[in-house]
Symmetry: C2
Subunit: 683 residues, 2 copies
């Protein structure tokens, strides 16, 4: 086994420079699988005038399985999807809301990157404030590599109120309010430049957990890599969420200092294991990479040990230590020192094979499933066994003084699945589903313990479905909650190669929908291929659509979308006006089908202009835009919304401002003129 | 008729502030139609374990029409779509590539707005240069309201080589190369701040035509609106396209000065009418809007006249005048003066009813179809009659000296379609399809002349299909070329209201696919509803997928995506190095699964860093990202691509740079460290 793992590691380290992967041939790195010619070929599927199902299927060369898949995923005109999948868009920096089973993209939610259709980052003050809240000091950050969305939970179930998303590239967290599907807050981690973007909540959303990744000197200072072991550190950050305010409370948040093993995915305990958090790590080798000529590449250096360390955090204990003031401050942020966490029983390690990615807690909270991506097994740890081992005491410690729970004392089972297990989710019938990157497959396997009242053999592989290609994460319907739904699984494949019409060398991702409702337990066919051409989604959660209670319009005309309350200073019908105070001009404007009031504004060059505008409509979908040419300004004003935009009229000329949302038959006529006189502004 | 039009205008001017529109009830402004409860209801569609088509249809409550629609639009795993629709994303500022008939979004092509997944506008020099090329002097423009995509044509047919897209908000044009689906050029119109975003090409793409819109003093200076008639002007700009260079040639381009009637959509002549261009206008009233208290709103002021002016441009004549040097220069740009164009026979007017939107030339070039959005008819003009009237001479002139061809001398037919005709496209059987905004319907009607060899009555409404709701533009397969395909029509609806799962007050657009292959000519059912949650697409063109020859990878390792040639200075495997010259550091780096070379870089704070990086892979889909935390940098490196990024290392610290594209099982290990020493840089 050990030799096999090492050989695999070597194979993976070998780069592929041939075009063997093209057209989906076998890639010897295991990073692509053969395409079935009858599928990958663009032939078939032509338009047909046939009408009967049989005639259409024949004309379009649809197999009986295709027909079933079509009928299981098609949404008739006007009918709503049953589930909504919230997926990160990876280095797109946004969040995608996708309907299931149709796999239609319902909305890209602007989060970390400016997006003009939503008026996000193009002048609207509330959005500029949100984006600037995520800056790193004087560094203006306008993108993210968002990895892990986390829906807010109540008693371990999604409640449909908030969505959190982590930015791996800059160690940040965003908060999205699911009443209006808008990003309300971005917080920057003060002690780290980077993390894994891992975002998980505790069962009642008291804490939003951010796992770290590449180690660095906490606080952001410089230290040579020769001092890696002494001066570089990892972190696990616990953000306190104030549900009433709908905001993360920085002052009540804290980080736990951990060794410079690269922390990876985390999951929170559930039910009986509530109050505990579990995080993987992948660089217990303390590799520091290849300098100009000497040393070994990270890919090899990080893959030497057969075992890394599962981090087991007693969050309740950590909270006590923080409350007792046993923290230090780094850049004004509370940090629980490593030696304190280790000495006081807030942090334990358990060996885990090998370079793991996912650590996933079963719905009942009894087990933690770890997928070692250079291993062939899903390794299952028992929470009770972990507690017993801690109680028994007498634990060895690692170089940093962290107690190590022996592997065999905590391990419940190992289930051989195949090559490259990454991430596991669950269904409502006691089965687990694990993505296999190297096999390009999804594995279904049986849990044990109380999950096996059906007499099936526990801890055993049931079946595998090939996916195209190289699946990263997967998501099942409410599959990481205390009550998964089953029904659907989405394979989030990283490579698509030729599965879709060519749209250039940058290829869309491939989300594949798998049907979990087959009568035979060993069947879970792919029933839909969805190209994702707006980013590289990393992870997703799938919520029952009827849990979402999005607003159709804002509750009152003159709504402040930051405070989520009526703005007492909002312009309303009849109160439109222009106020001047020296070179300061304040415009109170309204928008309604199909005109702005006022329609003509004259200012002097140099004037500092503040424009407040209200969309006074209360009709669902009666959105208006407001754009000023050349000044790089565009607002999206949903019914009732008030926004403020500030700019200096520093260029003379004539600027027709207009509604950018096609709102009515006279939309083209919804325009006004901003005239900037070339006479100097009054002082 | 006249009274009816005026009443309609008044009705439209009445704003709706009730929530009558909510849940899709009738909106008395005509801006939404009732939703059919059996469709709008979210019920039905649940997951089912049924397997046979009949059982699934029963369990999911699918009608026979739903079943046919599902089978006509479903694409089996791996099968390619038959057509690709290129849609603008409106004020999203990007272009959407959508597969038909599945309506799946294949890619959002970054165009005017930065997009980090594509590495567009986040440090990659070629993309920064493209974006900055579209700036307005010192005004950095980072979004657009893109309206009209135009595919390059050869002999009047799409050739799949280039895509042009216009920015209404800032009067700009972008050029996308369909070999790699990347934006290569953005040009700013030097004489105007705004246009309609109308983008149309001549049959061999010699010219890309940009129609103007809201009048202003050409060149961008200030003039009071009291001088509107004298000092404000419209324009139609003709951009010269150099196909070999793949770029617009600014020096050989020119604009035609036209009266301050708001120019709207244009279309180019085809076949016999090649060399002529036709543009609508909508403000022959010369309305100047409502100042603080006095005056009338634009929506009313612009809607007074029963007739506006179709602009008929003799492009060949205009070219001759430009060649003869009869132009003036405004901001260094060639402008053909209005009086010259009018006197020399380069510009004519024809009355057109009423506040029209689309001017669309039939496939054979014989007719121009105008939809007057406050009229009930499609008005058809005969190119031959226009030529005869011009030859006959003795034409009256408008106030600006432009000859006016009498309506009845040029009109071939009027076809009563319904309320709010906007835009017309064609099929391969002699039928036209017109969007009706106020009726929320698509009208199919018969052309006459040589199109009617089937004995059907010419110039007659055939049928209407209701759409949900308020259709703006529509597109049929290759429907504005000399050889339309038929088969599919996409209704680009502006309102969706409750057609999709609620995702907040900002509602996605609704693209509906209509089937044109029904045996009965009076049937064209909606067979798919596609939510568009990434912008407000305005217009689209649909091309046969097999005409697109996108690259799977760049032809050579070390590819310069701007010059579309190998970069002789590109770092290659074995030539990686770091060069220092005082405080200037140049890094030559390569990326390959799964490591960067070099992996560790030390610089001093203050160093000016130039990093050149090549993705040396040649495997289809083997893309690597390159991100530097905190410095707001992310590149997307497709196989073979070389990019350059320049930044000043102005903050000391440790910055793990890493691959942002999940490229291999050891993707997480594809990382390096940029160390910025807090010692001052050498001078």
């Amino acid at each position: 086994m050990k030799r096999q793992i090492i050989m695999l590691g070597i194979a993976l380290a070998m780069p592929i420079t041939t075009s063997a992967c093209s057209r989906g041939d076998v890639d010897t790195s295991g990073e692509a699988k053969p395409a079935q010619e009858d599928q990958a070929a663009p032939s078939g599927g032509e338009a047909t005038s046939a009408q009967s199902p049989d005639e259409i299927a024949k004309a379009r060369n649809l197999s009986p399985a295709d027909v079933s898949a079509a009928l299981k995923t098609y949404m008739p005109s006007g009918r709503h999807d049953e589930y909504v999948q919230f997926a990160s868009s990876g280095h797109g920096g946004q969040v995608l809301a996708i309907g299931l089973p149709s796999m239609r993209l319902l909305k890209m939610i602007a989060t970390f990157s400016p997006e003009p259709w939503q008026g996000y980052g193009y002048g609207a003050k509330s959005t500029m404030d949100t984006l600037n809240g995520g800056n790193a000091g004087d560094k203006e950050l306008r993108w993210a590599d968002d990895h892990h969305p986390a829906l807010s939970e109540t008693a371990g179930d999604y409640d449909g109120q908030f969505l959190f998303i982590g930015d791996k590239a800059n160690a940040r967290v965003a908060v999205i309010d699911l009443r209006d599907f808008e990003t309300k807050q971005i917080v920057k981690n003060p002690i780290s430049n980077i993390d894994h973007g891992g975002m998980f909540v505790t069962p009642d959303t008291e804490w939003v957990v951010e796992g770290g990744q590449y180690a660095m000197p906490l606080g952001g200072g410089y230290a040579p890599m020769e001092d890696y072991k002494e001066k570089y550190r990892g972190h696990i950050t616990f953000w306190k969420f104030d549900r009433a305010a709908g905001r993360i409370d920085m002052a009540k948040s804290f980080a736990m200092e951990v060794p410079p093993y690269w922390q990876d995915l985390c999951d929170s305990g559930k039910k009986g294991s509530t109050g505990w958090v579990f995080c993987n790590s992948i660089n217990t080798e303390l590799a520091t990479g290849k300098a100009d000529k000497d040393g070994v590449n990270f890919e090899s250096g990080v893959s030497q040990n057969d075992m890394d360390f599962l981090h087991v955090v007693n969050l309740k204990k950590a909270e006590e230590l923080v409350a007792a003031g046993k923290t230090t401050e780094i850049n004004g942020f509370n940090v629980l020192p490593l030696d304190t966490a280790a000495a006081e029983g807030a942090l334990y390690f358990i060996p885990e094979p090998k370079s793991p990615h996912g650590a996933d807690v079963t719905p009942g909270g009894e087990y933690i499933v770890v997928g070692g991506k250079l291993d062939q097994n899903a390794t299952v740890y028992s929470f009770q066994k972990i507690q017993d081992a801690i109680a028994a005491g007498g634990l060895d410690k690692d170089d940093y003084g962290v107690p190590i729970i022996p592997f065999d004392k905590a391990m419940e089972a190992q289930v051989q699945l195949g090559l490259g297990p990454l991430h596991t989710q669950f269904d409502d019938k006691g089965f687990a589903y694990t993505s296999l990157f190297l096999d390009s497959a999804v594995a279904k396997w049986s849990l044990g313990g109380d999950y096996r009242k059906d007499g099936l053999e526990p801890w055993k592989l049931v079946t595998k479905t090939p996916v195209q290609y190289n699946i990263g994460h997967l998501a099942t319907a409410e599959g990481d909650t205390v009550s998964p739904d089953g029904h659907y699984l989405v394979a989030m494949n990283k490579w698509a190669i030729d599965r879709f019409q060519n749209v250039g060398p940058l290829v869309p991702q491939n989300f594949q929908l798998l049907d979990l409702d087959q009568p035979e337990p060993d069947k879970m066919p792919v029933i839909y291929d969805a190209p994702i051409g707006v980013g590289e989604p990393h992870y997703a959660q799938i919520i029952k659509a009827d849990k979402l209670k999005g607003w159709e319009k804002y509750p009152e005309i003159g709504w402040d979308t930051d405070k989520m309350a009526k703005d007492p200073d909002a312009p309303l019908t009849g109160t439109e006006r222009v106020e001047r105070d020296g070179n300061k001009v304040t415009i109170y404007m309204t928008a309604i089908r199909s005109h702005f009031t006022p329609e003509r504004i004259e200012v002097n060059v140099g004037d500092e202009v503040t424009l407040k505008i209200t969309n006074v409509e209360q009709t669902y979908d009666a959105t208006h835009g407001f754009a000023v040419p050349i000044y790089n300004l565009n607002l999206s004003l949903e019914p009732g919304e008030t926004q403020t935009v500030e700019f200096t009229a520093d260029r003379a000329g004539v600027y027709p401002f207009y509604c950018t949302e096609f709102c009515s038959a006279l939309h083209l006529e919804m325009v006004g003129y901003l005239l900037v006189k070339d006479t100097p502004a009054a002082q």
